[in-house]
Symmetry: C2
Subunit: 153 residues, 2 copies
């Protein structure tokens, strides 16, 4: 489906937190603050670190910080870090060239749509997102810790 996964949803919240409170914060702290599932938060932070978006400090008093200015990180970077190379349809990647591309009547135009989505996300730097985000969350969230309550369909 055409939807952000929870990982991306959560990931943007975590980046927002790290941007507005630029002190090294541990996974446990952040999870507690936003009442998000702790192991998920840990996994997401690990992936963002692996992708070079965050830097980590190990050991006691360790934690995570932004590795770059948020103006240098695009939405596409975050998506790539958390769910792999963006691909609107399976036949967009070079290694997995669709063997029917010559026959498929919509191959070329769908590639064009793919590129437009990718360009949009690549130009959309997360400082735009984080800048508009509320600085931080004074009240700890209530019982359920899910920022996207209210299932669609």
């Amino acid at each position: 489906m055409l939807k952000f996964s929870k990982k991306i949803d959560y990931g943007l919240i975590l980046l927002s937190k790290l941007h507005h409170e630029p002190v090294s914060a541990s996974a446990r702290e952040i999870a507690a603050r936003y009442r998000l599932p702790a192991p998920m938060v840990a996994n997401i932070l690990k992936q963002l670190t692996g992708a070079g978006i965050l830097v980590s400090t190990r050991g006691a008093q360790g934690g995570y910080e932004l590795a770059h200015d948020p103006a240098d990180i695009s939405l596409a970077d975050v998506v790539r870090a958390l769910e792999g190379e963006f691909s609107l349809v399976d036949c967009t990647t070079a290694e997995n060239t669709c063997q029917y591309s010559e026959l498929c009547p919509t191959h070329d135009p769908i590639q064009a749509v793919h590129r437009k989505f990718l360009d949009f996300m690549s130009e959309y730097k997360i400082d735009e997102i984080l800048g508009a985000a509320k600085p931080f969350n004074t009240h700890p969230a209530p019982s359920l810790g899910n920022p996207s309550i209210g299932k669609t369909q």
Copy 2:
């Protein structure tokens, strides 16, 4: 994940076919032509008809045709017809207002991203897609009938 479902992928192929060969075509015919799974094609055509994008004629010699000029049908219409109202995250729809929107630091900016995606898809009329599509497929496709071969990840 941020990806077109097969339904949308197939749906665009079917629309392309109905545009370039504007005679009423049956689900079986189209499925056979593009070597797509027949029941899937039938379901997709039914959904597109229900959404008013196609018109159907029942009975022998029946089939489907485009209901409108492709310049009047947007990518958003097709997505909505085949996988319901577009929603980048769960808390975008009015009925399902996220009860934590006041607390969630990224609620507002993510809504903005959602609207940008929706606007893009609403302005993207499918005549742009179908116009660039190859008129039709002279060779019947080989054995496997999947236009998106080559799985990503």
